[in-house]
Amino acid sequence: MSMLELRDVTKVYGQGVTVVNALGGVNLTVEPGAMVAVMGPSGSGKSTLLTIAGSLEDPTEGEVLIDGAPLSRMSRNAKARLRRRSIGYVFQDFNLLPGLTAVENVALPLELDGISGRRARAAGQRVLDDLGLSERADQFPDQLSGGERQRVAIARAVVGDRHLLLADEPSGALDSVNGEAVMRLVHDACKRGVAAVVVTHDAKLASWADRVVFLRDGHIVDQTAPPAGPESLLTIPGQSQ
């Protein structure tokens, strides 16, 4: 079963002369363990697609299913629970709470879900350990570098039993080495079975995905074929080893 499915999703903002058709009939499925990148220029509907996929906004028409369950049939409480337990979000500007330490930021979604503070922090610490941030757990966001802050944001998105990771320009303004480190983390999460959707205009980030879909004016206009292995790059025509 797909972890995420968008069926004919349309989103219209405003009305009359100010109407904006942000998304028009988008269909997208993401299987467990797969990473899909969504590329498109500013205003193409990338972020809208992500907020609708993450149940932060409702579509005007169409249906979103997460792990087979249609969001339209869920109560507000059920959707809020789904967001706390199953979906991890990573935003360009990290969105860490400045008054909480790294480990407290990571543990927050678990605590909001009713898990005891001690257990939540232990789970948070484990994820930070995995991401090489053991020593930084008790630092506040303003004591961390940009790359570290984004790793904490990713830790928060994958803590607990999350199986859908939604990332909007996850490498933000990071340099290319840190940007690559961020994509490696997303990629590793997918290897563990997490389904990920990464919205970006950066082809270097998108190329980490199993599939890249291209969004233009609210429509998916194209997508990449399943990638061939890298072996083909290693032989130069006309030359033998």
Binding site: D202, A203, T224, A228, P230, L233
Partner: protein
């Protein structure tokens, strides 16, 4: 890639045998540029002829023949490293030509054409990234080579993005102009002087 200078670089570390040079060349360039055996030995012969390397004995050219770099060879290598490659004149870029030509061909959707090329480039980048993910973690040379390819392909995609944005803006400007002052459609812009602008280098 200059095989000649790569071999000089390997010999700058110390004397080596023919076979060793071939193996190290492949390892250093991340196996992205496989080299055939003949190419190594022909290049070594030329380097010896030019006095840039010398061999210990008169053994026949082959895997067991040993070489070392000369003072002249070391100077040649140092000069080559610091000489910037010729990136000054724009090379003839086939993709740029295709997009320019597409603007003039009736019935061709330039945006569609741009997307075809963009998708192809992203697919290529995906292949390069796979390589990085599997092996580059442990191989600095390969990681550097793959990064160079990714940045090069990425820059072409960025140009396509910029071209598409420019075309959209131009179309919007034309639409505004035609609403403001009804006038006959403007004549198509003259084709730039491609020969001059994209000057053929080779």
């Amino acid at each position: 890639m200059s095989v000649r200078h790569a071999l000089l670089a390997l010999l700058s570390e110390g004397p080596k045998y023919g076979l060793q040079l071939r193996e190290e060349f492949e390892a250093r360039t991340g196996e992205v540029w496989p080299l055939n055996v003949g190419q190594v030995y022909t290049t070594l012969q030329r380097l010896e002829r030019d006095g840039l390397i010398e061999s210990d004995d008169a053994t026949e050219m082959g895997p067991q023949k040993g070489f070392r770099i000369t003072v002249g060879g070391a100077e040649e290598l140092a000069a080559w490293l610091r000489t910037p490659p010729d990136l000054s004149s724009p090379p003839r870029d086939e993709l740029v030509m295709k997009v320019l030509v597409a603007l003039r061909v009736p019935g061709v959707d330039v945006h569609d054409l741009i997307q075809v090329h963009r998708r192809y480039l992203v697919e290529l980048m995906q292949q390069w990234t796979r390589l990085k993910e599997d092996e580059a973690k442990f191989d600095l040379s390969l990681a550097l080579v793959v990064d160079a390819e990714l940045f090069r392909l990425d820059s072409v995609i960025r140009w396509l993005d910029a071209a598409e944005g420019r075309l959209k803006r131009a179309a919007a400007d034309r639409a505004t102009e035609s609403t403001a002052t009804p006038a006959p459609p403007p004549a198509a812009a003259p084709l730039p002087n491609l020969r001059r602008r994209t000057g053929v280098r080779r």
